[in-house]
């Protein structure tokens, strides 16, 4: 009888993939929030709020370094392609800001999805650092989406 192969290498590879996705998504969300804050600098409800929630991607990107060292990270250009499609052009007025908020929501959803999968990975691998960061990041992203609504 052959023993079943350990799930660990497969899960580890998935984690590497989604760490890459998480990192890219967080970077894109951060850039988008900074751009949004500049674009709406006359509306503090928008620019001030964006600056507040932008502190979270910054924090996650910093904390990701440890995990990327541990697992590696497969770079992903998917977030960049998404971001380029969104937030493009000059958007004026109230309709413009609504459109921007929608685009930010899409980016934040992408971040959220990556962390949800990483949270599962953390559980399977019993990695407390991965679990802690994923849990925090999911909560932060939930709060960001709540603010964006």
């Amino acid at each position: 009888m052959t023993a079943l192969p350990s799930p660990r290498p497969r899960v580890k590879a998935q984690v590497a993939h989604f760490l890459g996705l998480a990192r890219s998504s967080e970077e894109q969300l951060l850039d988008a929030l900074v751009l949004f804050a500049e674009r709406h600098s006359r509306d503090f409800d928008l620019s001030g709020g964006a600056t507040i929630v932008a502190s979270w991607p910054r924090d996650h990107i910093e904390r990701l370094k440890l995990l990327v060292e541990r697992y590696g990270a497969v770079p992903s250009d998917q977030p960049e392609r998404l971001r380029a499609a969104l937030l493009s052009g000059t958007r004026m007025g109230a309709a413009g800001s609504l459109h921007d908020l929608q685009d930010l929501s899409l980016l934040a959803e992408q971040v959220s999805m990556a962390w949800t999968i990483l949270f599962q990975g953390g559980k399977e691998l019993h990695d407390d650092d991965l679990l802690a960061l994923s849990a925090d990041a999911r909560e932060h992203t939930r709060r960001t989406l709540q603010w964006l609504r």
């Binding site: 006359r42 503090f44 409800d45 001030g48 507040i52 709060r143 709540q146 603010w147 609504r149």
Partner: protein, 803 residues
């Protein structure tokens, strides 16, 4: 002239040491013997001292405190004893004014109102009901706010209604709502008489609520003095009496409070039974406070570990505790998040709803409470939830309109956003009532540009030609307190009746009469085709308000003018259950957080993100208080090499707001005639600045020039009073709000008046100034601070026992 005390020379009066019951002493100031005394209340701060006005030959000739009033026990402060004289100022507005080119020329009421009505109808037709906005005050009467709310929301149908209370009280209201479900101060001022500890967070009570401070001083002088903890970067008269004085770097209230809470939790100074029975989300607080060790708090706030621990010991172990928050919290960073942490302290210690145990989210302005209750400030009327269809329907029933005509499809617009809409042209007509945004809003250059826009029709109702009125298209002369009848409510839910004592000058009218006239001319109708506004005087408005408030926490249904005249003062709720009114709320630990009763579904206190109804229902507070923890987030701007100092702004004892009234009273004005910048001795030395030198202060937005006062403020921090516009001296260039940021709290939308990065430069020495006035009075009398001793690194008042 007869006065029982000189309140300018001795602000807080002689001591009557007490433990428990505060002695009675009637303060009085009379210029002539009166024919009669008229029942009233002081409206120059949110204490709301019961007072009577002396009248002779149709003129006000003096005032006296009412001894039987639970708020002040007969005492009055300098503003109360002197402020009434501003009514008689020669430059009162006595006719309407209409702009013709550069000038404002006298006009009749018919002409002025005709123009306003024409522009209102035109704006509504061409641009929609959302093109009209109302920016009102914190100094009107209940009946005026209520009428304004009905006119604006049910008549015009606009959600652009807010008051200058956004600048002073918004956080107080929101903090109470987030924790307890609705607005409503839980305690009563009598709590100060029986408490073992007083915790003043960003509240210079000595300067801003002088009679309440007298009450505290009398307890401190008595046999059982409470212990006092004060949080303020300035060594104020309040702080000088503290057992522990914490001086956090501006903008760091939240880390400080998190640190205090962490110690309280760690040492087990909590009431676990109360937490379990009457609160939810305590675990979240444990998580958010955990990182804030005393060492980390010191690194961020500069408050020494020993001071933090000394403060925690007092607020954590005292058998009873009264805390207050005011502008030092509300106008600083993360205002709502910080204010809520003070609520949390009381919740985790079970210090609420019993004698000597309460938190006051203090109101800034005299009748701010009324604007919050009547829905003239961006909250919905009678603490209802604009997002709850049943509440909206209930309001529509009282006002006899269709629910769908009430503008509740969006949150009410806050003041800064109203001005932003004026800036973008979305709002075409702005009616400003009893406030002076040209001096009191942040980032004044921007505000002046907005007010001067050609496409914005500005109406100003005021008693004087303020800096704002000077920029209006129509100015309406307003009656002041004393010249009209109405009710007011203070910061411990006490309702007073203020009777008309004299006629307003010339053709000035009360704001109530102006609004009633407007409603008639606009022909606002209810859903049966009858007039929307069914009352014709103040008492009529009050009766309608009673019906509107019935069943809500601020229940006035058991009150009447007759009862108020007889009893002098009544605390709401006053209804069948509490016919005498009620001193304290939440005595049974039942809060107003039920999903179908609460005022809002709540917010993330860090981001301002709003909870949906289903999220609130899932949380299921069911009458338990909601504990909300909060983490620190980065500030909107930081000091750097170009702008190395932090600016905080605020008030002095003798003045109110932009000095429209107090600047016109000789004694008050003489006590504090000029602005100044307070800076620490070490900073002064570094800058080569001496006492009285003219200093230029520059922020990323503008510059001002004021004389220096070297004082006991924290190094790296400077203070400028915000009162000094240029209505009385066009050469003055000292309005503090030129420097402040167009930024605000994400939940309460209250602006950051107490946080901006600035640089300082000496311009002229004191001896070279040709505007050098009389010698400066002692800093304490400005409500300012005294110089710290320069010897000894550890010489902090309080820790060393300096009293």
């Amino acid at each position: 002239m007869h006065e029982t005390r000189d309140s300018v020379a001795d602000v807080w009066g002689p001591r009557t040491p007490s433990a428990g019951m505060w002695p009675v002493r009637s303060d009085e100031r009379l210029l002539e013997e009166p024919d009669e005394w008229v029942q009233s209340v002081c409206v120059l701060c949110s204490t709301g001292c019961g007072m009577d006005v002396a009248v002779k030959d149709g003129r006000m000739v003096g005032v006296r405190g009412r001894p039987g009033d639970h708020v002040n026990h007969g005492r009055l402060g300098p503003k109360g004893l002197h402020g009434w004289q501003a009514n008689a100022s020669a430059d009162r507005l006595t006719t309407p004014l209409i702009r013709r080119g550069r000038e404002l020329v006298p006009a009749s009421w018919d002409e002025a109102m005709g123009m306003i009505v024409e522009r209102s109808k035109g704006a509504k037709e061409e641009y929609g009901q959302g093109s009209i906005g109302f920016y009102n005050s914190g100094q009107l009467f209940l009946e005026e706010y209520y009428t304004l709310a009905v006119v604006a929301e049910a008549g015009i149908g606009t959600s652009h209604v807010d008051g200058n209370t956004r600048l002073c009280t918004a956080t107080a209201s929101i903090a109470l709502i987030e924790s307890f479900g609705t607005d409503g101060q839980p305690g009563t001022f009598d709590d100060f008489d029986v408490t073992d500890a007083v915790f003043l967070v960003g509240h210079n009570m000595a300067a801003t609520q002088t009679v309440l401070w007298s009450r505290v001083l009398d307890q401190l002088a008595g046999p059982n003095p409470p212990r006092l903890v004060v949080v303020d970067p300035r060594l104020t008269a309040t702080a000088r009496r503290a057992d522990v004085h914490l001086t956090p770097r501006p903008g760091t209230n939240l880390p400080l409070l998190n640190g205090l809470l962490r110690i309280v939790i760690e040492r087990g100074w909590i009431d676990s039974a109360f937490i379990a029975a009457h609160t939810i989300n305590f675990e979240h607080l444990v998580t958010t406070t955990d990182p804030w060790t005393p060492e980390r708090v010191e690194a961020v706030t500069r408050v020494p570990v020993k001071s933090l621990e000394a403060a925690a010991e007092i607020v954590g172990t005292s058998p009873t505790l009264v805390s207050t928050c005011l502008q030092g919290v509300y106008q600083s960073l993360q205002a709502t998040a910080s204010a809520v942490q003070v609520n949390n302290l009381h919740l985790i210690r079970g210090m609420i709803g019993k004698p000597g145990c309460t938190v006051f989210q203090m109101n800034g302005q005299p009748t701010a409470q009324n604007t919050r209750e009547c829905g003239a400030d961006g909250e919905f009327v009678a603490f209802r939830n604009w997002n709850n269809a049943t509440h909206v329907a209930d309001t529509a029933r009282v006002w006899n309109v269709e629910p769908k005509t009430l503008p509740t499809w969006t949150p009410p617009t806050h003041a800064m956003q109203i001005f932003r809409y004026c800036e973008t042209g979305a709002i075409r007509m702005l009616w400003i009532i009893g406030t002076n945004p040209a001096v009191s809003l942040p980032d004044l250059k921007r505000i002046h540009k907005i007010l001067e826009r050609r496409d914005l029709f500005v109406v100003v109702s005021d008693a004087y030609l303020t800096e704002t009125a000077a920029r209006a298209d129509v100015v309406l002369p307003a009656a002041l307190w004393g010249e009209k009848t109405g009710t007011t409510t203070n910061a411990d839910r006490t309702v007073h009746l203020s009777m008309k004592a004299m006629q307003p000058p010339g053709q000035a009218r009360s704001d109530l009469d102006t609004l009633l006239d407007y409603a008639k001319r606009m022909d606002f109708r209810n859903k049966d085709g009858g007039p929307l506004v069914t009352w014709t005087d103040a008492e009529g408005a009050f009766e309608s308000w009673k019906a509107c408030s019935k069943g809500r926490p601020c229940d006035y249904s058991g009150m009447s003018y007759a009862l108020l005249a007889e009893r002098g003062a009544i605390q709401w709720p006053c209804n069948e259950t509490y016919p005498e009114g009620r001193a304290r709320l939440y005595e049974d630990g039942q809060f107003n957080t039920a999903t179908d009763y609460c005022e809002t579904y709540g917010h993330d206190v860090v981001t301002g993100g709003a909870l949906k109804p289903e999220e609130h229902a899932a949380m299921n507070p069911a009458g338990r208080a909601i504990i909300k923890g909060a983490e620190q987030v980065p500030p909107p701007e930081e000091p750097d090499d170009d702008y190395p100092y932090l600016l905080t702004t605020g008030r002095v004892t003798y003045h109110f707001h932009t000095r429209t009234k107090t600047g016109r009273v000789k004694a008050l004005n003489a006590a504090a005639p000029e602005p100044f910048v307070e800076l620490a001795p070490t900073d002064a030395a570094e800058l080569g600045v001496s006492e009285g030198d003219l200093v230029e202060i520059t922020s990323r937005r503008a510059s001002i020039r004021v004389p220096a006062r070297v004082s006991g403020i924290e190094p790296g921090v400077v203070f400028v009073p915000f009162h000094y516009g240029d209505w009385d001296d066009p050469s003055r260039d000292a309005a503090a709000n030129e420097l402040t940021i167009s930024g605000w709290d994400p939940v309460s939308k209250q602006p950051f008046f107490k946080f901006a990065a600035v640089r300082l430069q000496r311009v002229r020495s004191a001896s070279d100034r040709d505007d050098a006035g009389p010698p400066a009075r002692a800093a304490a009398e400005y409500g300012g601070t005294t110089a710290r001793p320069t010897v000894g690194a550890g010489s902090r008042a309080g820790a060393e026992g300096e009293r």
